[in-house]
């Protein structure tokens, strides 16, 4: 009886469809460039492409698993305890991802270091669980998670590309800049992370404002 009284309102199954969720996560609501979530890994692991993509893979694993799991139990959630449930679910999947990395991709695990457990507090995952997973069915939640993962890939991939090419002249470890071009080493150090992300964000803002500027002119 107490359970029924405190039930969440009926899950919003007539919200955005799976396809809409999927597309939205990639560019229009890109987690890095539009939602400005998940800054910590975006700055920390993007000194080179390989760690960046490993981080995207780990985050995608956690995001998809947690979103689907939360969606499956969405009718059982108590409103004031739901954040705890999200957190518990996410922390479990992050531990699994961390152990899997250490067992099968050990050099990457060492390179990523403490940033894999930090996926637990990556705002993207809690935000998606809250906005989509706790309100819509598993398939929509899955599509939403995949879309946001692709968006995250674009975000991290672009920052890592800029930093690795400018900073070390390589991409995925393969040399791409001729040796005569000096390496802008600061790009692979902390200040470079801030600067690269800032300029990419400015580029995205500028691109988004183009139609408005044309209208003004």
């Amino acid at each position: 009886m107490a359970v029924a009284e405190l039930e969440l309102p009926a899950a919003v199954d007539d919200g955005p469809t799976a396809a809409e969720r999927f597309i939205a996560g990639i560019v229009p609501e890109n987690p890095t460039f539009r939602q400005l979530l998940g800054m910590c890994p975006t700055l920390a692991v993007t000194a080179a492409m390989k760690p960046a993509l490993t981080m995207v893979a780990a985050t995608a694993f956690v995001l998809i698993s947690a979103n689907v799991m939360v969606s499956l139990i969405r009718h059982l959630l108590k409103p004031h305890l739901r954040i705890l449930v999200f957190t518990l679910t996410i922390a479990t999947f992050v531990t699994i991802a961390d152990r899997l990395l250490a067992a099968y991709l050990y050099p990457m695990s060492v390179a990523l270091g403490p940033y894999v457990p930090l996926i637990i507090v990556n705002c993207i995952i809690i935000a998606r669980c809250e906005v989509c997973g706790s309100k819509q069915g598993p398939f929509t939640a899955f599509a939403d998670a995949v879309g946001n993962s692709l968006g995250f890939l674009i975000g991290l991939g672009s920052v890592a590309t800029v930093r690795e090419i400018l900073g070390m002249g390589t991409w995925f470890g393969l040399p791409v800049l001729p040796a005569v071009v000096p390496r802008w080493v600061i790009m692979v150090m902390p200040p470079g992370a801030f600067i690269a992300l800032a300029l990419l964000l400015a580029l995205v803002n500028w691109y988004q404002a183009r139609p408005k500027r044309r209208a003004e002119v």
Partner: protein, 240 residues
């Protein structure tokens, strides 16, 4: 004396040389979100320091007595049920830490609400959001690594969060001071908001890079010369 030297190194390392925000990139969300005014920035910095210290202490206790391989309480239960070897609960560490952090934030929230009601009102939704602040979990993870490795005791495990939090406060206050001035400047439209803040953070990070190398020199100054180390005669003057 050696303990004090160690603590000093940890403190300066956490606050300046490896600043949580500008070097480890943890705690960026409040750093960008709450640094528009000096007083809220200072308040947020001190709140985070308080939470991080409470959470750090609780996670040290949990790690030392329950989670690490061979922890006393876990071992007592494990051997009581006849299990072989040492109990190792470190796989539950992440879950344990995040709950400790959520509990710490609840505790600090209750404390602030009771004793500083106007401050509680001005924080609004940002106080519970400290739970998702990477800096706190990061400090807990650092403590776990050193405690499991057998290097740190309680003193070191408290020094890191306190001075890490103070370093975070320093960075956020510096940032707020700059952004207050930036509000009066004519920033190009694409750069307004997050981009200019990130650029400023980048320049701050560049400045803090100047603290690199301080750790090694401090260590040399604080530790007495090792008795049996042969003088590595470098026929070269330092030119870095």
């Amino acid at each position: 004396m050696e303990l004090f030297a160690n603590l000093l190194l940890i403190a300066i390392g956490a606050a300046l040389i490896n600043n949580f925000v500008l070097s480890y990139f943890v705690g960026i969300c409040p750093f960008l979100g709450v640094s528009r005014k000096l007083d809220t920035a200072l308040g947020m910095g001190l709140a985070v320091t308080f939470v991080i210290t409470v959470a750090g202490f609780l996670s040290w206790t949990l790690t030392e007595f329950v989670l690490r391989p061979g922890a006393p309480l876990a071992n007592a239960v494990w051997h009581a049920v006849g299990g072989p070897g040492d109990a190792d609960l470190s796989v539950l560490a992440y879950i344990a830490y995040i709950f400790v952090i959520a509990a710490s934030v609840q505790f600090v929230e209750m404390y602030v609400k009771k004793f500083f009601p106007p401050l509680y009102k001005s924080f609004g939704v940002f106080l519970p959001l400290i739970t998702t602040n990477c800096a706190i979990l990061f400090a807990c993870l650092l403590i776990m690594k050193e405690v499991v490795g057998g290097n740190w005791g309680l003193a070191e495990s408290l020094t890191l969060p306190i001075f890490g939090g103070l370093g975070f406060t320093l960075a956020i206050v510096l940032m707020a001071g700059i952004r207050v001035e930036l509000d009066l400047a004519d920033v190009p439209r694409p750069l307004r908001g997050a981009p200019i803040a990130l650029l400023t953070a980048g320049i701050l990070a560049l400045a803090f890079l100047g603290f690199t190398g301080m750790g090694a020199n401090l260590k040399q100054a604080l530790t007495p010369a090792a008795a049996d180390a042969p003088a590595a005669v470098a026929s070269v003057e330092v030119d870095r």
